[in-house]
Amino acid sequence: MSGSVGREPVFPTRQSLGLMKSKLKGAEIGHGLLKRKSEALTKRFRDITRRIDEAKQKMGRVMQIAAFSLAEVSYAVGGDIGYQIQESAKQARFRVRAKQENVSGVLLPHFESYTEEGINDFGLTGLGKGGQQVQRSRETYARAVETLVELASLQTAFVILDEVIKVVNRRVNAIEHVIIPRTENTIKYIISELDEVDREEFYRLKKVSNKKHRDTAAADAEIEAARATEGEKNALEEEETPEAPDVLGEQEDADVIF
């Protein structure tokens, strides 16, 4: 696998080796940090998903109760108030405020519901009959909507966290599977290149010394040869002289130096 990630285009020098080593170290630290962040977020995320699951179930129940309270209204009023309600809606009484919460550097929104006092579009609905049921149903629905708002906060947090975790995980994976192996590869490459250079250097030195030997040997031979001719000349001269040297005699030969 590491073969596929390639290496960085650097010259295999000792300086870049140092650079790469510090980069590797940095990447490892970063990886550890991001991994921890991702774990923290994932923990939170799992917590949220669990709560979403619960809240959704709860919502099912709450909405059912609320729908039932509306059934009570239509029982008491004895008719349909839907249209009237739709038409008399003017100002939202029930509003939300968005707050933000910081989780490992991620801003999560949190909706908070509040009611705008003094706005009451339906105060007189069901004046003739059913007004009490209408009021009760309003309260039930207001509680239901609070649950919905809570759920909406969770859900938004879910969407954002999901996104953030994906990004973080992508980074973690990138570091783990691309950057680190790549840097390691580069280091290996540099080291092997440097070794190669070392070996070449050694070989070269060997070659040089070999050549030096040869050269000295040749030079010695030459000198020897020169000496030999000189000796012959001397011998001829000696032959001319009656006194021939006693080769086997005490007289020592000249040392041959190689």
Binding site: L70, R93, R95, A98, F111, L148
Partner: protein
């Protein structure tokens, strides 16, 4: 994101008559000032065109910047499932709610589907 979240203070509703009536009773209804008088709710019945729902959904999720949460009946969401599923922005939060005649089915919820998928179920 931070700035836009602050201005969002309303809830929007797309649903059948009963759900809308109930939620309006809770006080979520809001009509913007004239002349354009936009309502933040839409009543859907069997006669409502899917394109109308689609348009309202677009309006609530993309055009209007004052809506924090869009509540939509699950059976209505089914009709525009594609739009709901492909809407992934954090704001506004789209929430599928059960209606009187259609009890809540977690299998269809686009968010819960994501939850389930993440846990590999």
């Amino acid at each position: 994101m931070a700035a836009s979240a602050k201005d969002r203070q309303f809830l929007a509703v797309i649903g059948d008559e009963d759900s809308v009536t109930g939620l309006l009773l809770a006080g979520v209804g809001h009509v913007t000032d004239p002349p354009d008088s936009q309502r933040n709710f839409l009543v859907v019945d069997s006669k409502t065109e899917t394109s109308t729902i689609e348009k309202a959904f677009e309006n609530f999720t993309q055009e209007r910047k004052d809506i924090a949460i869009v509540l939509i009946n699950q059976h209505v969401a089914e009709r525009i499932r594609h739009s709901v599923d492909s809407f992934a922005d954090p704001f506004p939060a789209v929430l599928e709610i059960p209606s009187k005649d259609h009890p809540y089915d977690p299998e269809k919820d686009s968010v819960l589907k994501r939850v389930r998928r993440l846990f590999g179920e």
